[in-house]
Amino acid sequence: MRALINRVLSGDRQAIARMISSVENGDHEVQDAMAELYTHTGKANIIGVTGPAGVGKSQLISSITRELRRRGRTVGVIAVDPNSPFTGGAILGDRVRMREHFGDKDVFIRSLGTRGSLGGLSAATRETIRILDASGKSTILVETAGAGQSDVNVMNHVNTVLVVVMPGLGDEIQALKAGILEIGNIFVVNKADVGDSDTTVKILEDMLEPQTKTDWNPPIIKTKATTGEGIPNLLDQMDKHSVHFRAAYKIIEKERERCREEVLSIVSSKVAEKAAEALLDSRYSKLIDKAAVRDTSPVIIAEKLLRSILQKDRK
């Protein structure tokens, strides 16, 4: 384990990949290793990229990566795709758009499935960000579909959120979940040549106006990811936001909130694990039978179970 940690810190690709797999699979053995890696994090710029399907997020990330490399930065990319809730499988195809970077040892790309659970996605993504951060990548880009609540949750783990749209979305922009509009730090109108991008910019401006933040006014940037137009400007804005975010009080505030939430989330899932195990016992099985026919209630069973779990750990 010591060797694995050192290899991750030195940027060994196989070690990084293995570590990511371990956290994806929920291996308990790497918990200590992750706790140590955590102390080596906090250096990387973490950028979330979200938005409706089809706007060109993957291509945009590839262009951003190209420009980052031109500026001498090392890059980690995490691309998240949903697993089928029925078969549990997934086709993780975002990597296709990043081909130009495959031979570059300083770009690490990992495709993650959602693997079905809200909490699961957040935890695996959060830990993967940390592994890439600890391994020395200066910028980490996280791409999600932007369609659901879990994608808004993932954005809690990044420092700058890019919301990507394209011209002609019209109603779809109006339907952008309120949560996504609020967490967006930079808005990107990609495929700017495809339709009336000026109208799209105006729509966004109107939607953002009611919530003008006093300390950071989210810029709206036009890009054409396939040619690279607008990308240098986008990167400058990303850097600007990064500086703004790191201004002492803001980043500490956010990190405190994250740590608190993370502790809560870990405790909840560990307790849930124990509860699930305990429910397999015949005593509780019988109680569940009674609840099913209204002879007792789930609340009463839950209280009993919780008392029992807490008491066991007191020994």
């Binding site: 699979n25 078969t87 499988g89």
Partner: protein
Amino acid sequence: MDASKEKKSKKIRVLIAKPGLNGHDRGAKVIARALRDAGMEVIYTGIRQTPKHIVETAIQEDVDVIGVSSLSGAHDKLMPRIMELLLQDNVRDKLVLAGGIVPAQDIPILEKIGVSKVFGPGTPTYEIVNFIRDNVRIHK
């Protein structure tokens, strides 16, 4: 750790790669979908991949299986190159499979350099799924 929970999280990850110049990938896509329907995570990186790119992807994505699809007869140069690169990077734990049009006399040659199985065109997808399930080395 609870056994059933363990099974839920561990997924077999498969890289479907198409090296070389051939542009047809319908077969590879059919297989990718079948593997997904069997509960696996499939990393599909598109056509015209170089051996270097295939190996790099296999490492970063920590796949359990590398499925190389080749219709243009490029298997006799590209496959050995892929195996060579895997060895160079000390990657020993991945199941390597080949699919597509491979002349019968080349199959033993491929198997000798480390390809576990060659699947000809028209192989039923359940056969491939079962072979993977039976032979994959889950070291995780």
